[in-house]
């Protein structure tokens, strides 16, 4: 079960046109990405995802919802950070799934995030308007 108090240890990040916000007011942990994830976002993203992973493992969560609807661009270094997170979930045997909610009006998101699903199909799930891959 999710321990919301644990989730509160995550702080929102705002870095030059990019924002990462954890949501703790629902039964399911959720994170919202927005803006442009370029070179300024790489280090904050890496640190955030590492902390998020620790929170989710400590809280014995079974899933995390990642809202990408207002993310407009992601460079390859940030894609690598997402891949590293999902790989870490895989190799540590953590018991949670990552649901990536993508915007159907932004086809780049499918192209850029589908490789993450291929990397760990049992962990990364792409969702578009309720559909799942």
């Amino acid at each position: 079960m999710l321990n919301d108090m644990r989730m509160l240890t995550l702080s929102a990040i705002r870095a030059d046109g990019f924002a990462l916000e954890p949501f703790v007011d629902s039964a399911t942990p959720a994170v919202k990405f927005s803006g442009n994830a370029d070179s300024h976002a790489v280090v904050p993203l890496e640190l955030f995802l590492r902390q998020l992973h620790e929170n989710l493992v400590d809280s014995r969560c079974t899933q995390v919802q990642v809202d990408l609807l207002e993310l407009y661009f992601m460079n390859s270094s940030c894609v690598k950070e997402l891949a590293s997170w999902i790989h870490m979930v895989k190799i540590t045997g953590a018991a949670y799934k990552v649901y990536l909610h993508i915007n159907p009006r932004q086809p780049w998101q499918w192209r850029s995030l589908e490789p993450l699903r291929r990397l760990a199909p049992a962990i990364a799930v792409l969702r578009v308007d309720g559909q799942e891959s």
């Binding site: 661009f73 390859s76 086809p107 780049w108």
Partner: protein, 178 residues
């Protein structure tokens, strides 16, 4: 249409220029998908030249040529860089160009990159896999030129594309908010 920029290596300028490439594609072609592919290509190539340049100036060009039924879109970057970097990027470019399955190559490189500190080394493979483009490159002395090109079909509902930048009622919202 030709956009040419020469500038001191700077990630923020790369971000601005790649957004401009995307917005011009969106405005001229009314095609967000193509706009995002070329924005991504311009950004990845631009970050590479900014990161690895040994010179005081790099350049990025975007060209959109109307060929009747098709448009030809290209992004070209130039920078001066070290012999080690030239060898490394030359090898990666040969690998990316020769890959029979660009997605398989990208998947393999993505898996290799996980957990590595610093650079991803994924940009060129990502451009080939996600951009649907053709690569050409040349090395002259310490100068590297990389060009990515793709033919783009004209959308029938926009059979007449204005030569000048203008905003129409059908213009979609830019997806490049900062």
């Amino acid at each position: 249409m030709l956009i040419r920029a020469s500038f001191r290596p700077d990630d923020d300028l790369v971000t601005l220029l790649s957004q401009l490439v995307g917005d011009v594609c969106r405005l001229k072609l009314h095609d967000s998908d193509i706009a995002d592919r070329f924005r991504m290509a311009a950004h990845e190539l631009g970050e590479n030249i900014a990161k690895y340049s040994t010179g005081s100036e790099v350049s990025l060009e975007f060209e959109l040529v109307d060929k009747g039924e098709l448009y030809s879109l290209s992004v070209r970057t130039k920078n001066r860089t070290s012999p080690d970097r030239l060898a490394e990027v030359g090898q990666r470019l040969r690998e990316v160009i020769a890959a029979p399955d660009p997605h398989a190559l990208y998947d393999r490189l993505l898996e290799k990159s996980v957990g590595l500190e610093g650079v991803s080394g994924l940009g060129l493979a990502r451009i080939r896999a996600e951009g649907g483009v053709t690569f050409v490159y040349s090395i002259e002395g310490d100068e590297l030129t990389v060009t990515v090109t793709a033919p783009v079909h004209r959308l029938s509902r926009h059979s007449t594309v204005p030569d000048q930048l203008e905003v129409s009622a059908e213009r979609p919202e830019p997806c490049t908010k900062r």
